[in-house]
């Protein structure tokens, strides 16, 4: 969570992950499954490609008009009975939520899946104040039991196999061991149902917020999202400010794109639109609704060169196809968001000084760009961040020296060819000093380079 960022140790984290055979197998299986399902879903409906253009344009329009749209959302949500709070940073959001819960004497909160709550370190903060927080998304519940953080934004426990989950449940819930996913799901459901009924408050995220109606939109597959937001008397929704869509009519584009991009599903199992509080005569819905709109650095991103990152709708498609992510898993990235979108967003939100090793976590293969439903130019953004890292003097001095030398040689053929000759001459030494995992992977330079073969 936000307090324990280890992005600076990306190389060490990832070297360790590479050695973890069960993690690698789990990652390969899961990422490939979702990646394959996504390709199948897109191959089946050709006009989804055109829909990506539309989605990208819509999200761009939102970014261009964000302050006005937020204003509109707030006033419409307020009119529908909600209370809207603006939180400038993580601490403000945590405090707002804690105060709301304490003022109402809440002792237990049931939580729907929310990456924003991970970003602000909400669970730890509430638990330290004596409030029990129960994750109700199955994947989130698993990692909460394990004391871990999500390693994927859609599939939080993607790094775990069912045997590990079976063992965890047996130990923590004192149930007989089983690695049958159906049995395990039933156990979790039984535990959770009691929690839902006993919870004094529900805390959720939101996939989108509709400006013209003040509605929150939640996509969920397990139904827990709907339980959390409608069973307890108090519902607190936490929302990052870029999640706005102008009109309800904009939503269908994303209803079609988001589940297909995320898991390859044609449609999500539960789609909830929550507009204000429970009205007279309605049987369900929270009696009190608070919406916390989080900035936490996003206004700054919006004003900068990498603003397109805020188009992201958190589908996770980029991570499923990323060769780096599927090799090292999400925890190596050291903060809330992993994979290509994560390396960019983490660097933007937490600052280059806290995360610069992440900008190297890409081969620039472009697989992420190929699948992003809102066409975020992830590779150009990564290049932009690498440039910023270099300009801020955060690169390894040896690399800086090497690149200066390269730059001089690239514009001076004599120096360039001299460099080729020297590297040939000293190859045994270079090979030795360059280490077996770097120089050891290169072949010996030729004694007769191509330019000398040409008339």
């Amino acid at each position: 969570m936000s307090e324990h960022q280890t992005s600076l140790n990306f190389r060490e984290n990832s070297a360790r992950a590479v050695e973890d055979a069960s993690l690698r197998a789990a990652m390969r299986n899961a990422a490939d499954t979702f990646g394959t399902r996504r390709s199948a879903a897109f191959a089946a409906i050709p006009d989804l490609e055109a829909l990506r253009d539309k989605a990208s344009e819509l999200r761009m329009q939102v970014l261009d008009n964000l302050p006005a749209l937020l204003e509109q959302f707030s006033s419409n949500a307020t009119r529908a009975g909600a209370t809207v709070h603006r939180a400038h940073d993580a601490a403000a959001a945590r405090e707002t939520i804690l105060t709301l819960l304490q003022e109402r004497g809440v002792r237990m909160a049931a939580k729907g899946k929310s990456m924003i709550s991970e970003e602000i370190g909400l669970n730890a903060h509430l638990q330290a104040a004596g409030i029990e927080v129960v994750e109700t998304d199955l994947g989130e519940y698993i990692i909460q039991l394990e004391g871990e953080t999500p390693s994927h934004i859609i599939v939080p426990a993607i790094h775990k196999n069912r045997q590990q989950v079976g063992k965890l449940f047996a130990e923590r819930l004192h149930v007989p061991y089983s690695d049958d996913p159906q049995v395990l799901t039933k156990i979790a459901r039984r535990v959770m149902r009691e929690k839902f009924l006993a919870a004094d408050a529900g805390i959720s995220g939101a996939n989108f917020a509709i400006a013209e109606s003040g509605s929150l939109v939640l996509f969920s597959n397990e139904g827990n999202g709907r339980m959390v937001t409608s069973v307890p008397p108090l519902h607190i929704a936490i929302l990052s400010l870029e999640k706005i869509l102008p009109r309800l009519a904009d939503l269908p584009t994303f209803i079609r794109l988001l589940p297909r991009s995320a898991t390859g599903q044609a449609i999500t199992s539960y789609l909830s639109l929550i507009t204000g509080t429970r009205k007279p005569g309605e049987a369900t819905g929270a009696k009190e609704l608070h919406i916390v709109v989080l900035d936490n650095g996003r206004s700054e991103i919006l004003a900068g060169e990498c603003r397109e990152m805020l188009k992201c709708i958190r589908c996770g498609a980029c991570m499923n196809v990323c060769p780096v992510y599927r090799t090292v898993g999400g925890h190596a990235y050291g903060w809330t968001y992993p994979g290509p979108m994560g390396m960019v967003l983490t660097t933007l939100l937490t600052g280059m000084k806290k995360s610069y090793p992440l900008v190297d976590a890409s081969t620039l293969c472009g697989a992420c760009v190929e699948v992003c439903p809102v066409r975020i130019p992830l590779v150009p953004l990564i290049l932009k961040l690498r440039e910023q890292k270099v300009n801020q003097g955060l690169s390894d001095p040896k690399e800086v020296f090497g690149m200066r030398l390269f730059g001089a040689a690239a514009r001076n053929p004599e120096l360039f060819y001299w460099g080729e000759r020297v590297s040939r001459l000293f190859w045994p030494l270079i090979r030795k000093l360059g280490g077996k995992d770097v120089a050891g992977r290169l072949p010996e330079p030729s004694g007769r380079p191509f330019h000398r073969r040409m008339p």
Binding site: R11, S14, A15, V18, R24, R28, P323, V324, T327, V328, V359, D360, A361, S362, T363, L364, C365, G366, A367, V369, E370, L383, L385, R386, E387, Q388, K389, V390, S395, E399, M403, R404, F406, G407, A408, A409, A410, R411, N412, P413, F416, E420, S423, R424, G435, D437, V438, R441, L442, P443, P445, S446, R448, P449, F450, H451, R453, M454, P455
Partner: protein, 240 residues
């Protein structure tokens, strides 16, 4: 027809035989090949690592060597992509250089692209034996959009049976300076690529980027594989 040959730094120093094969193929099709002397590197290592000034220096040098209006041909998907897509970006603030950059961007071809689109070389046949699989390198397929051309040429290799590998367009893990900065991940990704190649059952693997092929050859060697790794232009030149 006349072309200018951009050998690339990798071919120049590490794989000159790829340059030889490129030349031989072009001449086979009656192309008059000029080699602008003093050419160095397209600047990609610096560009991809965030060293914009150095990349721009390399690009300016390229522009000074590759003048005129003949097509430029290069046996590398990623170098062609650099010239075509990133050179114009580098000179947005310098109109004269931008014009030149747009010029080279418009006339650069990756070799398989030139063979198919301009020379229709896939309508000829080439001799070959054994089984062949193909690695679709990242910048070739995703930046340059060259997907079909290498496959058309492979289909023209008579006597060679094509066996696709799983996830042919997944990255090999090279990534330029990535291989040196994060070697553990780079090797792990390359190992998976080697695994895919071995699963295909082919006795030869080919591609259109020497850097990726180099990385793949190393990963295969680590696994004790005897699969031959060879640039597509070499296979074609051998089979003329």
């Amino acid at each position: 027809m006349r072309v200018q040959l951009f050998g690339t730094c990798m071919v120049d120093s590490l794989f000159p035989e790829v340059g030889d094969a490129t030349l031989r193929l072009l001449e086979h099709f009656g192309v008059d090949v000029a080699y602008p002397h003093g050419q160095t590197c397209c600047g990609q290592p610096a560009f991809n690592a965030g060293y914009r000034a150095q990349a721009r220096g390399a690009a300016e040098h390229f522009l000074s060597r590759f003048t005129g209006s003949d097509p430029i041909v290069t046996p590398s998907g990623s170098c062609a992509a650099m010239v075509k897509h990133h050179y114009p970006e580098l000179f947005q603030d310098a109109p004269q250089l931008l014009e030149k950059a747009n010029g080279v961007a418009a006339r650069i071809f990756e070799m398989s692209q030139f063979l198919v689109r301009v020379l229709h070389a896939h309508e000829s046949t080439y001799r070959g034996t054994g089984t062949l699989t193909y690695h679709a390198s990242c910048h070739l397929t995703r930046t340059l959009g060259v997907k079909e051309e290498p496959l058309l040429l492979i289909a023209a290799l008579r006597g060679m049976q094509f066996v696709p590998m799983p996830d042919a367009s997944r990255c090999c893990g090279f990534g330029g300076t990535f291989m040196a900065k994060l070697p553990e991940i780079s090797c792990a990704i390359a190992d998976e690529k080697a695994q895919s190649i071995m699963e295909s059952g082919a006795d030869t693997v080919t591609g259109c980027d020497s850097a990726c092929l180099m990385n793949i050859a190393d990963a295969l060697k680590r696994r004790g594989s005897t699969v031959r790794v060879v640039h597509l232009v070499q296979l074609l030149a051998e089979g003329i």
